[in-house]
Symmetry: C2
Subunit: 532 residues, 2 copies
Amino acid sequence: MQAYPLTLTNHLKRARAFFPDKQIVSKLEAGVFRYTYRDFAGRVAQLANVLRGLGIGQGDRVGTLAWNSHRHLELYYAVPCMGAVLHTANLRLSRDQIAYIINHAEDKILFLDEDLLPLVERLSLDSVRNFVVMLSDPHGTVPTTSLRPAHNYEDLLRSGSAHFEFPELDENMPAGICYTSGTTGEPKGVVYSHRGLSLHSLALCLPDAFALSERDTVMPIVSMFHVNAWGMPYAATMVGAKQVYPGPHPDCKTFAELIQNERVTLTAAVPSVWIAMLAELDRVHYDIGSLRTIASGGAAVPQSLIAAYERKFGVPIVQAWGMTEISPLATVSRLTAAMEDWSEKERLRQRGKQGRLIPGLEMSVVDGQGREIAWDGRQSGELRIRGPWVADRYYKGQQFADGWLHTGDVVTVDEHGFVQIVDRTKDLIKSGGEWISSVALENAIMAHPKVLEAAVIAVAHDRWQERPLACIVPKPEFRNLITKEEILEALRSHLPAWWLPDEIVFIEEVPKTSVGKFDKKVLRERFKNVQL
Amino acid sequence: MQAYPLTLTNHLKRARAFFPDKQIVSKLEAGVFRYTYRDFAGRVAQLANVLRGLGIGQGDRVGTLAWNSHRHLELYYAVPCMGAVLHTANLRLSRDQIAYIINHAEDKILFLDEDLLPLVERLSLDSVRNFVVMLSDPHGTVPTTSLRPAHNYEDLLRSGSAHFEFPELDENMPAGICYTSGTTGEPKGVVYSHRGLSLHSLALCLPDAFALSERDTVMPIVSMFHVNAWGMPYAATMVGAKQVYPGPHPDCKTFAELIQNERVTLTAAVPSVWIAMLAELDRVHYDIGSLRTIASGGAAVPQSLIAAYERKFGVPIVQAWGMTEISPLATVSRLTAAMEDWSEKERLRQRGKQGRLIPGLEMSVVDGQGREIAWDGRQSGELRIRGPWVADRYYKGQQFADGWLHTGDVVTVDEHGFVQIVDRTKDLIKSGGEWISSVALENAIMAHPKVLEAAVIAVAHDRWQERPLACIVPKPEFRNLITKEEILEALRSHLPAWWLPDEIVFIEEVPKTSVGKFDKKVLRERFKNVQL
């Protein structure tokens, strides 16, 4: 067979040749902007010329701080197809983290949306030699700024020729880089290759994944600065779908209007967006009948949410699971033919799981003793993944040890191969070589009528290595009317005896992170010297 | 990203892990045989052990002469996944050709269906050291035969362990080999790599191709000895679809019964099968309502056939085009969203074309002067293809010159990127650097009411290099009542003056090949000394 490389350049050529009249729609401050793949391809060529003119060569990193828009899509193709590496910086990170990742990636240029100028002006950046501002008014001028030099994106494009001879690339060349959000330690960069993104695009479009085709109108709500908006823009361009980008004001009204007016068929966002949208759709009537699938992931999708969209709008929410390190897609919760005969309740429970591995990847689930678990929906172990779109190291880091990505997620797998995440490995209690799930314990404790919140952490133990300690916040009305013994008694009927906490402490509240998750680091620190 | 290879072993592992209870159905002489992917995977491991026991090592060729069955599917995976190369010999070739390709491929073992014993006994084979007979009765014994040693497939499998550690393979390793039918010269071998077949499987399953999913029941009617049954068995296994194989009696009754009884959703065969099926379905009532798509290719699909299936059964025939050298799939004639608004006649005409290039490939259409043609549905040129599942040479041959596969097909491309084949380059008349389509000329001549058949060939010309000569068979009633001048007069109104034949000869009949095509080689030989 020909040694023909898998590259994003193939997408670009395909889109230009076969879908010149298909639309790309972008919501800007000024209103809805609309153009064709023909215009898009021309501007990508212009942008590639601009990049070359600004001294960008093969392997150089080009940063973006930008919302979901047609210009961001232009950067998605111009940068990797001319041989450079697109670094989509996450604008939701702290200022220090944003500066850290741009400096760590050594971005030579930074493309930023106009409204992010004040943010960028306060960053201390080492490597950036040129700033390019994407103005909301394409005919506007760059405001006075301390950034130097600060170019106008549209002016630069006008200066570039619409002809660019894209180089032949090795498929293993880096195309993009994205940093994990870094809840522990500094953010870590994941480098995506042309090969990985090409294969990920093919897998994403499979009927058993998201079934993307030329007939779709795709609106990625998930941010383009977050794992390539789950790969949707690349997949949509490959198949020539109409694309819709919601721009700098990602709010429910904008999403609902765009779905209605552009006849969106497929959209993707985290569950919290779909919870908020439900309220908006209750408040105002929109016609969202064009939607055929809502893709959701990034956090477990509540069954009640799936049921609500099914009942009210007849739209299936299809849950998926992935990681920055997996480009990101790994599992999709799509029912098999046989499951269609199940009861509604069973189907819903199945769709509430994270789903089945998509073609191309391989998985292994290993318990505390390093044994492969049984696929019975009960035994749990750490999920490990390998495949051509799975990272083998972090940027500037060492190669991972054994050829598998250790996801840090503890999962069960049912007899149908559906994965369900039950915990994070770092939150597990490793007791005598067996695992106790902190999440399962917390859920059991929080089911007690006197309990408001509970967090379970591991505490060091001489004989068993670790044992569970439960930190419980009583409901206000039971503050002094709750005993350790009654909690333990309630747990005995639901859990194995050796799972029961060795110690229970009553606390005022569970410390939380900035995004509202339990901050067990703080609790572990507070109780590290407890003697069990 | 991980250096994870694209191999058929990934399909096998996936099928075994995620779809153990899905069915594979095989029509045998004795009746319908049915088992699960679990059993399939076990037998593939046994077969791999058998192959190793018979001395098959990495890169060795293993031949098959077999119909579409579950055993052939076992060979499809056991042979390439243990590192050897599957040579699916075409049992429709002449005896000399079959011997030639088995000797040329140097097959070390030959697996054959029982009914092909008499054929194989008469072949003169140089390299085959073991014959393995697949009996229609799995509990039967091998009949007396001159083949030595002649093993019983089922006995061998029973002797093999159901555990086999499949080796890690380089994705560029050969997995299979198939010979072109060799209408000119000796058959030529095309070697398929694990990478090529893996990517071809992904592309085949895309919604804009054949949308294969776990929910499908796939029945490949196209032979497993012909370009891997268009890649359907590999794609079906990858997604965990139910598979149905029609066995050693590929007739319409068998196909119709299997579609009805197994609830087949997707099937694939050449147009002549669908023409014959139409008669069978008119004769006997079958419920074929489970079918969602009929894939057809290998020859142009008549619009009338597409219309008949649409009207009578509501089943779309989706036309595709490919070649042995392209694994084989290159284009699929699937309407775009916008085309759904066209009139029925326009839609039918569009579906009668060979279709649009699938993702992953690249095409170029070049006229007689080496210029890229306009996509206007009128200009024509030779179709050239490149991509990761396109051959770069024939087995034991030189690498093709310029990185493109020259298909030898002359095509037009319309403004939607749909390819339509209008001729073969070898049948073109190259006149003064321009091309004259023999097929277009023949169609124009055959439209004349006095003409039964016409074949147009090129004859050498001093000034123009080549000029057309038309060989015409008059209808019997006009045998002596037809003149050259009236033919030319009729053509003048339809064709450019320089296309008109320089000479017309009236003949008794157009010589035909064994499969009924015009045999222009014979005519070219007969008229090579004509002076124009």
